[in-house]
Symmetry: C2
Subunit: 357 residues, 2 copies
């Protein structure tokens, strides 16, 4: 993405066709994950026509993509620049200016406290006119909304590069588990799975562990000739996504019968199910009798069902054993659209509309 100076990024607003967008309003939804940031622009529908009553796919006017906007990973100035640029690009593509925006909801990874929310709200307030409603959430909340069409109820489980479980009770109480990064033990994440696989390769090589198919598979994928070279490989670039990209090798080895790879996936399933159970338990999503129904929204590359060793399915089986009322949901829209639906719901709620129906 181009680098702009001092507000130059918004210059398209002065150049826009005076006829474009006049009288219409839009909402923005943003999903800022560990790897990329996506912003969508959607038309503001009246409260009488909620988005989930639309017959077909949702009307996305424009979509823009940028890099990581997690301030923990890239630092505050870079996170702020990325957010501003991806928002400007989505608006510019849609042909609307900032004055047409009624509400914007950002779901950003790394938002873990009111302080984190306040910081981003301050950045946004500098950018947007005062009438624009601003909402900032953890990116898991946008992912939940992408599966529930904007309703904040149930639990989402994300496992991509990182992992997190996040839930809302009907009364608005919220809870989360995991989502704390590799240092603090997110072992169900893509990073966690791949790091365990790399560890198994090193242990097989230095005599601490049994031989495993992972050695040939991973060395071949990385173009390395010996496990000794893994040390240099891991330190030359500490990005979590680069390590998480090895998950398909672990799944393939497990499918081919490798016991070490299989155990790594079984452990990851247990960790992921545990994080969902902790949230369900704290919010009592299953009701007092334990059989209540609630959605479990499944998001992220690790949980996608494209292999015969299906991590997401195993996690769901593990959850269903304890909570038979859990209803697995695979979202039909992306988290950025979930964030836009949240913005609409929050806006309708503030205006006294029936946003949660």
């Amino acid at each position: 993405m181009k680098k702009y100076k001092n507000g130059e990024i918004w210059r398209f607003e002065k150049e826009e066709d005076p006829g474009t967008g006049t009288g219409s309003s839009v909402i923005l939804g943003l999903d800022g994950g560990t790897t990329s940031t996506i912003c969508v622009c959607m038309p503001l529908l009246p409260s009488s026509v909620p988005y989930h009553h639309l017959p077909d796919s949702l009307p996305v006017l424009a979509r823009a993509v940028a890099g990581c906007s997690n301030h923990n990973s890239v630092g505050e100035p870079a996170a702020r620049d990325t957010l501003e640029q991806v928002i400007a690009e989505a608006l510019s593509k849609s042909g609307f200016s900032r004055s047409a925006v009624r509400a914007i909801c950002l779901g950003v990874s790394g938002v873990n406290s009111p302080t984190d929310q306040e910081r981003i709200l301050t950045w946004l307030r500098d950018i947007f006119p005062f009438h624009v409603k601003l909402y900032v959430q953890n990116d898991a909340v946008a992912a939940l909304a992408s599966g529930t069409m904007g309703k904040l109820h149930g639990c989402v489980l994300i496992s991509g590069t990182g992992c997190i479980s996040y839930g809302f009770a009907e009364d608005g109480r919220e809870a989360r588990a995991a989502g704390v990064g590799p240092v603090l033990g997110d072992w169900g994440s893509g990073y966690g799975i791949a790091a365990q696989a790399l560890t198994a390769v090193v242990k097989a090589h230095d005599g601490r562990g049994p031989q495993t198919m992972l050695t040939n598979s991973i060395l071949h994928t990385l173009g390395l000739s010996s496990p000794d070279e893994l040390i240099g490989w891991t330190y030359v670039d500490p990005s979590w996504a680069r390590i998480a990209a090895l998950v398909p090798e672990v799944v393939s080895c497990a499918e081919a019968g490798d016991q070490i790879a299989n155990k790594i996936l079984v452990d990851a399933v247990r960790e992921l199910a545990l994080s969902v159970k902790a949230v369900v338990q704290r919010l009592q999503l299953c009701g007092e009798d334990g059989n209540g129904s609630f959605p479990i929204v499944m998001v992220g590359g690790v949980l996608e069902a494209n292999k015969s060793w299906d991590i997401g399915k195993e996690v769901i089986n593990c959850i269903l054993e304890e909570y038979p009322g859990a209803c697995p949901v695979r979202p039909k829209v992306e988290p950025a659209v979930g964030a836009a639906l949240l913005a609409w719901n929050f806006l309708m709620k503030e205006q006294g509309g029936n946003c949660h129906s």
Copy 2:
């Protein structure tokens, strides 16, 4: 340490008293660990008076300390600068110039392959006159030599911020285990122990794990009010040493009866013993009957016996069960002196002296 320009660092050599050190020779030993780099300057003793026959403490002429010189951690230019500066400072303090140096041995963490050795040898060759003998080893080799007074035989176990096990057979064969950094699973290190403790605190907080004394102990030590703040704390500064500094809290909680802290230490003991056993096994240090005698040199803060929950002692007990001939050694000199003794031994060997007696 001051920053010098273009060789200015060596200006002290032109200013030295012409009488100082004339006719004498010195050797240099350097220990470059994950946290700091230490260089010592010692007089060159004749081969007829090996250092380990000296009655009292070894004659260290000068000692200099600098920061981390692991190129994996700080990058090549910074690692090179640190090495050059700490060597110059040790020489400057001793009153000798580079022309008086006969041999220098560097034990540097992050030296994991011939390529790593060659890189550092190239840097040193730029600095030192051609007659100076240069040796580059992993820092674990210098630590082993510090316990064996320069003889390369047996196994060293280091657990400080990082951990590694490194051994030599009498015939010169060498082997190592672990020492690969946190990503690749050095769970017996100070970093590994502390990261497990932080994970336990987060799991207790979000409902995934049992309550533990570690929560109050660690939050109090870090001046934080909630486990939620640990996420920001870990990402604000990714240095391993900062996390490893929490090991005393884990030991205190284990001593006070906390089961979670106890299990973390038991797991670390098992990992550390496993890394020693892998090296002993590969080198057959225990001889063919399994009862042969060999030194196990124990180095690093995690293995120091200053608590009633004594990690080092537990590791040794675990090793002795399998290899009764293992002889635990706590070095009386620091690894930098071990590196200097190695330099002397290598030099005597090249000159046909009896360096390994």
